[in-house]
């Protein structure tokens, strides 16, 4: 992983509610994620993991409550600085090549020397030889690699991952776990939801279980920690 200078950033959720019509996706969620933590959200389908991640990415506005970001010890509202987000969907264009996708998002984010950055990331995700192929010709796992490369373009201080190993084969999942390990060891904040993976979850320093939109367990060590992680891997 390319070394970089970034500002350690934490996330604070205060009494977050998210309603879709009369349905509560999140209820009174209050959490503080410190800079450099590697947090796993576990929970059944519909427990609110994705919604919480999308709120953290500032893609969804909470119905009530407040999200703030702790950037170098200073609290600030609004847009999360330098977040990398990998979602269920790949968030890349099928009609563009892998390289064109990365160049597009690099230019939008104002990254210096976008071509060099795109090339470095394509090399890291093992797609340099397929750089000129349209994404629509890729397998699900290859698309996910492009998605991960896109998320890491701006060398984010916070990485938000919603079931990131979807579609990756065992080798891909191993590569991704190693990538995440580098990110975690470099002090980045990682927040992810997992479903059915084990290698990636071993990187977690904290496990949070959600049920029906509420936090039911928040643990860092001990048997409870392992049981929440086991839930994520179920």
């Amino acid at each position: 992983m390319t070394p970089t200078v970034f500002s350690p950033t934490g996330i604070r959720f205060e009494n977050i509610d998210k309603r879709y019509g009369g349905l509560y996706a999140l209820r009174r969620v209050s959490l503080e994620i410190s800079a450099g933590e590697c947090v796993v959200f576990a929970g059944r389908n519909g427990s609110g993991k994705t919604t919480l991640l999308r709120i953290a990415a500032c893609l969804v506005r909470p119905s009530s409550g407040r999200v703030s970001f702790l950037d170098s010890g200073k609290e600030r509202d609004g847009t999360l600085p330098r977040a990398g987000f990998v979602a269920h969907a790949t968030m890349v264009y099928d009609e563009l090549t892998a390289e064109e996708n990365l160049l597009l998002f690099a230019r939008l984010q104002g990254i210096a020397e976008p071509a060099a950055r795109a090339e470095a990331l394509l090399r890291e995700v093992g797609l340099l030889e397929r750089r000129s192929s349209l994404v629509r010709t890729f397998s699900r796992g290859m698309r996910q690699r492009v998605a991960i490369a896109r998320a890491l373009l701006n060398q984010p201080a916070v990485v938000l991952l919603d079931e990131p190993t979807t579609g990756l084969d065992p080798q891909g999942a191993h590569w991704f776990a190693e990538t995440l390990r580098h990110l975690r060891d470099s002090g980045r904040t990682i927040v992810m939801s997992l479903h059915g993976e084990s290698e990636v979850s071993t990187l977690a320093t904290r496990a949070i279980q959600l049920d029906a939109g509420a936090v039911v367990a928040d643990t860092r060590t001990g048997a409870n920690f392992r049981s929440v992680l086991a839930f994520a891997n179920a």
Partner: protein
Amino acid sequence: MALLSNTTVLLGKELRTEFRSRELLTTTTVFVLIVMVLFSFSFDPTSEESRRFGAGLLWLAFLFAASLMLQSCFLREQTSDTLSALRLSVSDPFAIFLAKLAANTLFLLLTELLLLPVFAVMYNVAVLPALHWLVLVFFLGSLGVSIAGTALSAISAQARMRELLLPLLLLPLLTPILVASTEVTAALFDRSPYVQWKGVGFLAVFDLAFLTILWLLGEYLVEE
């Protein structure tokens, strides 16, 4: 500056994907052509009737084609959730709208200019004497259609009956554009073509007003 730069990058993406697939341009052009042929079979108009009614017919065909074209404008961004990626990347969400409406205007204008000679031949209407004014009216009309249509496309893309919703919202909203564009175009199809400045002014004001509304509300339209 960032707005301009983001808009340019996104416009490049819109053009690249369209010229690679040619989905919108092909379907829209064929659609307008079919409508023109069907109208000519139905009415078999004389040259005088064509001058009187041709402008309305032409703009109705353009509006239907636009509703077809604009349908996929934001729907395409939902397939792989690329809209979220764009929102995370741009500094001002208005850039997303600006790029899309610029691309839509360009595609619509291109379709109109491609089909104008066909219309002129089929309906026996002289378009050359006022061609430069026609281009101006087509531009202002297409810009208005694209601004309103792009905004409504963003709204309808998140709705349940999205395929039906866009034309239902778009066509009534564009009635003022249809009326103004038709009147100005009809005046340009006249035996002695003249520019109806009132209509041109109305189109310019409509475009400006809707662009301002889009600038103010655009951020909320792309929110989940």
